[in-house]
């Protein structure tokens, strides 16, 4: 590798990263000359065409940004509108919101961890081979994912782009029998997700740790999913409305998506690893016990172990959904009444991939004057690039094929939802 030798490798299908993007890596005489992670992102278009629409339309419109995490967009937009219009959603309606969000975590995390990320650790080329190697594991994962979808169907009306959620709550409260009827499968889900954590615990994790700035929501009473203040492991503690004062985005020439950063320009990390490190104490005892069984303590700084953290969050999400399902009573009203008017509101929830921030300004008639949405993958981009740099530096001696593999695996640590509606990632390694 020390010879001055030029090789270019092009891989045009990183099929297991949702969306479209590219990684260009240029190595000269064993030193990284350039590393660029490019993604193409549609939410910016949404911000423009939200202008002039009614406040009540934002949840359903923004839900279309993502087919995997529509709840994150629906709820972030709803809460921002509620903030602007002085509405509080509490009691059973708040519980239902938390429960449907658990469903989204379950389906998103399980698909990523079992079908897309696990094959990397097993040395398999794709999700098909894992079905051949371990059909029972795949059956379990598919049943868990279906459980997540079923929660979305029961509360949200349908699994993809749910239709039953609105600013102030729900169009129709789900029937008691339907919600309570999920309890049996959720009990199975708690056990099954635990078994998956233990199975993945045996993987060989690349030795890479980084001193991340972890940013997540934090709620005083619960492991934050759909509500909370924004905190970091370096002492930041701000209300959601302070987001734009502390975080910024920059245009980088090589990507049409914005790169998120702290106001001082530093990269930060959002997502399962950030939540786990910031809110570990609030996980259930079973989740913590299972984490311990696979060697995880209160702090985890190896991004490759995010596959374990995702599945630990699935245990927690199944337990939370079960707790809510078992005590669910139909509310007197399916929503809180909302009166349209002028205002500015902020909303932020923990999408499966990390915090997703919304801000809207409304005119007197409740129409949107201005919208701002900061999705999780945009926030992680700068950190993804930094991680790739660190990982390539440590693995310089690997052959191009193996290095490419390692980079793909590293990108998948973030489950990057590069843009839900797009396709593939081009990976180019050039060595001079």
């Amino acid at each position: 590798m020390t010879k001055s030798k030029s090789r270019t490798i092009k891989v045009d299908a990183l099929a297991r990263v949702e969306g479209e993007g590219a990684l260009d890596l240029h190595i000269k005489d064993g030193v990284i000359k350039n590393i660029k992670f490019r993604i193409f992102e549609p939410p910016r278009f949404f911000e423009a065409f939200l202008r002039g629409r009614a406040y009540s339309e934002a949840p359903d419109i923004t839900a279309r940004i993502c087919g995997i995490c529509p709840i994150a967009y629906i709820m972030g937009a709803s809460q921002a509108m509620e903030d602007a219009l002085g509405v509080t959603v509490s009691g059973p309606l708040r519980d239902l919101r938390r429960m449907i969000y658990c469903g989204e975590w379950i389906e998103s995390h399980v698909l990523h961890a079992a079908m897309l990320h696990a094959p990397d650790f097993l040395g398999l080329d794709d999700a098909l081979q894992i079905a051949a190697a371990d059909p029972a594991l795949v059956e379990k994962a598919l049943r868990l994912k279906k459980l997540g979808n079923t929660i979305l169907e029961v509360i949200g009306g349908r699994a993809i782009h749910p239709v039953n959620l609105k600013v102030g709550g729900f169009y129709k409260a789900p029937a008691k029998a339907a919600v309570r009827g999920l309890a049996g499968e959720l009990e199975w889900g708690v056990k099954a997700s635990r078994e998956l954590v233990l199975a993945f615990g045996g993987f060989d994790f690349p030795d890479y740790n980084h001193d991340y700035t972890f940013v997540s929501l934090h709620h005083p009473d619960e492991y934050a999913i759909h509500e909370g203040d924004i905190i970091s492991n370096r002492g930041l503690d701000i209300p959601v409305r302070g987001f734009l004062e502390h975080f910024d985005e920059e245009h980088v020439r090589h990507s049409n998506a914005l790169h998120g950063m702290m106001r001082d320009g530093a990269a930060y990390l959002v997502g399962p690893l950030a939540r786990y490190n910031n809110n570990y104490k609030q996980l259930s005892s079973l989740a913590k016990k299972t984490a311990k069984a696979v060697g995880l303590g209160a702090v985890c700084t190896n991004p490759f172990q995010s596959i374990l953290v995702r599945m630990i969050e699935v245990i927690y999400a199944c337990e939370e959904a079960l707790r809510i399902a078992e005590s669910y009573e139909e509310p007197d009203s399916s929503c809180v009444e909302v009166t349209p008017g002028r205002g500015e509101g902020h909303g932020c929830t923990e999408a499966p991939r990390g915090i997703c921030y919304h801000r809207y300004r409304l005119g007197d008639d409740g129409r949107i004057l201005d919208a701002r949405i900061v999705p999780p993958t945009a926030q992680n981009q700068k950190q993804i690039e930094a991680d790739l740099r660190g990982i390539v530096e440590r693995n310089m001696s690997l052959s191009d094929d193996k290095l490419k593999w390692r980079c793909e695996q590293a990108i998948r640590n973030y489950d990057p939802c590069i843009s839900c509606a797009t396709h593939f990632l081009k990976l180019t390694i050039k060595r001079d």
Binding site: A13, A15, F45, I68, M115, L128, A131, P135, F424
Partner: protein
């Protein structure tokens, strides 16, 4: 005659929307067909309990745009590379082959692939692909009529 018909695609991505457009066309002809966005796991759930299924998706094999491929997936493997343009990570080919491995394949499974050329965000469908959508809907109708 209980074949489930599912068209996969994203109408916002030019030719990617071909499969979903076929489903729409079939519905206009009074034939029950569903549009999905390409989540393979959902696809495997949707044909559960059906004797047969017909799936339509956009394909990229290097053929000219608008070419219609037809695979009997119950008989043999479908070429994975053809369908990498499925909108979601665990796509049609993965779903079909995973289902085969898990013994979850319907008895009859036909997969139509419509060759696309332009998958850009916000692009309209290519005229050749538009034509192929109509053609495929007619082919499927014929297939159902003769079943």
């Amino acid at each position: 005659m209980t074949d489930k018909i599912i068209g996969i695609g994203n109408a916002w991505r030019g030719d990617d929307g071909a499969g979903a457009a076929v489903a729409e066309r079939l519905r206009e002809m009074g034939i029950d067909a569903e549009a999905q966005d390409g989540d393979g796991a959902e696809l495997m759930e949707s044909w559960k309990g059906c004797d047969g299924a017909i799936i339509i998706d956009a394909a990229v094999s290097g053929a000219p745009p608008g070419v219609v491929h037809r695979f009997d997936a119950a008989e043999s493997e479908i070429p994975k590379r053809f369908f990498r343009y499925s909108s979601h990570l665990f796509g049609v080919a993965e779903a079909v082959e995973t289902a085969r491995l898990l013994g979850r394949l319907p008895k009859r499974l036909i997969v139509y692939g419509i060759e696309g050329a332009n998958f850009n965000l916000g692009s309209p469908m290519s005229p050749e692909v538009e034509k192929a959508v109509t053609e495929t809907a007619a082919l499927i109708k014929g297939e159902l009529d003769h079943a």
